[in-house]
């Protein structure tokens, strides 16, 4: 039998086998085939690692060496871990401080680049550019820009006579936090801008035109047309921004190294430290599971508050 004939034979047999199924069964099978890649992806990259993390969290699991089952000890230890609670507190304070500027600035930028006028693409690209740089690279860039000897910030502030001598931005907890926020806003605002821009552009112009006819001003249009119609986009932008902030790590690990005086250790940084520096993988896993629970709760609340109400 030639190769072509063999293939034809196989195709025929498969068809016959499929034909023996009812319409309903075939529909289910087709549906299953369509979702199969996603199911596989989610299983391999989410469900299995999650199950492993849960499993690890009930063990004393050193990075190297033997593991042993310790039940819920890792979870009870968490309540006594002062740095864990301090890191949670710091992470939430950081999230509360960093989310509004990213959102408001993103919204202003989106409004500015909304209309398709000449050269607008250049501005959209410039605002979006920092997003494509890796957070690690941008953090190193910021270390350099913040340096007291060669950094551009000190140079500008000195030239403007706003400071008398070069400042050590990372020496105090407050200034360290502020410069981190500044660097993150610079790095991520472009992404929020693009999300909000898509939302803005999906609002039909006719609504604004009729509002103009009714004599509505800018803020009235913003309150009664723009914001209500962008509810879904705003929800998405805020949820992504909040999740990103709660999971912040690179900027603290690279720029401040958790300092000064351990004042900028985010929760993921503390999980990393326990898992890889102190080799307590089981404890790190337990912290990750608790963090996952917190994130699910936070996202649910956000989703509920910003849900469609009509």
């Amino acid at each position: 039998m030639s190769a072509a004939a063999r293939e034809k034979d196989i195709a025929l047999r498969m068809t016959l086998r499929l034909e023996s199924l009812s319409w309903e069964q075939r529909r289910k099978l087709t549906g299953l085939l369509f979702v199969l890649p996603t199911v596989l992806f989610v299983t391999v990259f989410f469900i299995i690692p999650l199950a492993m993390t849960v499993f690890m969290s009930f063990h004393d699991w050193p990075l190297i060496g033997e593991q042993s089952w310790i039940g819920t000890t890792n979870y009870t230890e968490l309540a006594k871990d002062r740095q864990y609670l301090k890191s949670l507190d710091f992470t939430f304070r950081y999230t509360i401080l960093v989310t509004p500027p990213i959102f408001i600035l993103g919204f202003i930028l989106a409004s500015l680049v909304r209309h398709n006028i000449r050269f607008i693409g250049i501005f959209r690209t410039i605002f979006f550019l920092p997003v494509v740089i890796g957070l690690g690279v941008s953090s190193l860039l910021w270390i350099w820009m913040l340096d007291q000897r060669v950094g551009i910030f000190n140079k500008i502030l000195l030239d403007l006579h706003l400071i008398a001598k070069p400042q050590l931005f990372l020496a105090k907890p407050t200034t360290a936090m502020n410069v981190i926020i500044l660097s993150v806003v610079w790095k991520t605002v472009g992404f929020t801008m693009i999300l909000l821009l898509a939302g803005l552009q999906s609002i039909p112009d006719e609504l604004y035109e009729s509002a103009d006819v009714d004599g509505a001003g800018y803020f009235r249009k913003l309150l009664y047309i723009t914001l209500p119609l962008m509810r879904r986009t705003i929800a998405l932008a805020l949820i992504l921004s909040v999740i990103g902030s709660v999971l912040a790590f690179d900027q603290f690990y690279i720029i401040t190294r958790g300092g000064p005086r351990n004042s900028t250790i985010s929760i993921v940084y503390w999980i990393f430290n326990n898992s890889f520096t102190y080799w307590k993988m089981g404890y790190g896993a337990a912290m990750s599971i608790v963090l996952l629970g917190i994130l699910v709760a936070l996202t649910s609340v956000q989703y509920y508050v910003l849900r469609e109400r009509y």
Binding site: L168, A171, G259
Partner: protein, 416 residues
């Protein structure tokens, strides 16, 4: 020649050509070796080894702060190197985890086994078995700028021997001008301060851990408080540049090289750096002093071990043996201002006229290395209690708070 013979001849030739690279490969194996980034010494050694032909070594240099993390992750992933140069302080932890090859028999068979530096050898030993041998030898000591001593009206040939003398020298140097400072320490670098600040406490008879390393003595040992107050005083008086407060080790060596610092802690690694990069500096060295005299040093550096998962244990040992041999120690260590791994060779034809190298070598006589499985968590971790205590006490001035926090966190970590 018949066509059959021609085919036969061609086949033979092809076989010979094909075998050439094979036989070249058979001459040696390529081993992987990891080292933390502390200067060129290891690269020079590995280059010299590779130039001999035969077994080769592929060196991977890892940022010092990330060595333990990367090594741990690599071991967990089953990708550990054949040979590892490990900060000696971590050797017990890696040996305890069963990740280093037991080389007791090989070490004991060396004719100079008893001549290997004792502090390093002790840290390479776990439960009576030997897992690592001395490799990079660093005893901490103080480097001083003789030019600035002279400019400040101090005798450049009489370095300080007590805390008070050091303080007075730092004050005099700081008084030269606004750009010059008497003293320097990297206030955001945990490891640097274990290396150069702990000896201030040891030299005065104090310690932050009990003798068997099972208890923290931060709150109970009065010397710890006095040492913190001593640095705090220098900080308050402006004898240390403000930029030191954010130095996470990046300027630990280079700050002194600027020529604006009078005295700074360093190790043998500093000698070549300053001599090569700053030949204009007139350098002097002295031991880290105790409050009323005496001296101490942190016996640091690396030990070298063979990974328990290696396929080439004999070949790796061959490198270790070559490294410790008379010739390598003399020509690649001593001749290049480096401290030898053999006690009897500390004073040698190269070091005998070099006061800096002699100070570095003699620092080992007063050297101490804490033997603790949780050393990293206590001292070296940038977010650990040692650095936090130093920063709160010296930079913020809250000595009581720092002592209490240090005692609590040390105890928590020691008790697991």
């Amino acid at each position: 020649m018949t066509s059959r013979r021609i085919v036969f001849a061609v086949l033979i030739m092809a076989l010979c050509i094909g075998a050439l690279p094979l036989s070249a490969q058979d001459e040696g194996v390529t081993m992987t070796m990891w080292v933390r980034n502390i200067g060129d010494q290891v690269q020079e050694l590995v280059d010299a080894w590779n130039d001999r032909g035969g077994n080769q070594i592929e060196l991977t240099v890892i940022p010092p702060n990330e060595f333990v993390t990367k090594m741990g992750a690599a071991i967990a992933a089953g990708e550990s190197p054949d040979i590892a140069s490990i900060d000696l302080i971590y050797a017990p932890a890696f040996a305890a985890a069963g990740q280093l090859l037991d080389i007791t028999d090989w070490v004991d068979a060396l004719p100079y086994a008893d001549d290997l530096l004792p502090a390093h050898s002790e840290l390479g030993t776990y439960q009576g078995r030997k897992y690592a041998v001395p490799f990079l030898i660093e005893g901490s000591f103080m480097m001083y700028n003789k030019g600035l001593f002279e400019a400040a009206g101090l005798d450049p040939e009489t370095p300080p021997t007590t805390w008070d003398e050091l303080l007075e020298a730092a004050r005099a140097i700081s008084a030269i001008d606004d750009e010059t400072y008497g003293y320097y320490f990297a206030a955001a670098c945990a490891g640097c301060n274990a290396f150069t600040y702990l000896p201030f406490i040891w030299a005065s008879g104090g310690d932050v851990l009990s003798e068997d390393y099972s208890e923290a003595t931060i709150a109970t040992d009065p010397i710890v408080r006095e040492a913190l107050e001593y640095y705090r005083l220098m900080w308050e008086e402006g004898l240390i540049p403000e930029s030191a407060s954010i130095d996470d080790g990046g300027s630990f060596v280079s700050a002194f090289g600027t020529g604006t610092i009078g005295i700074a802690g360093t190790g043998a690694f500093g000698i070549n750096v300053y001599r090569n990069d700053h030949p204009e500096l007139n350098l002097g060295a002295f031991h880290i002093p105790g409050k009323d005299g005496g001296a101490a040093s942190f016996g640091g550096g690396d030990v070298i071990a063979i990974g328990s998962g290696t396929q080439y244990p004999e070949e790796a040992w061959e490198f270790l043996e070559w490294m410790m041999s008379d010739e390598t120690q003399l020509e690649l260590y001593a001749a290049r201002n480096r401290t030898t791994v053999r006690v009897s060779m500390l004073e040698n034809e190269y070091s005998k006229d070099d006061p800096l190298v002699l100070t570095a070598a003699s620092a080992l006589a007063v050297g101490k290395s804490p033997y603790s499985l949780v050393y990293n968590d206590l001292f070296n971790d940038p977010n650990g209690p040692w650095l936090e205590m130093i920063q709160i006490a010296i930079l913020d001035g809250d000595i009581d708070g720092a002592l209490q926090l240090g005692q609590e966190r040390f105890t928590q970590i020691i008790e697991g």
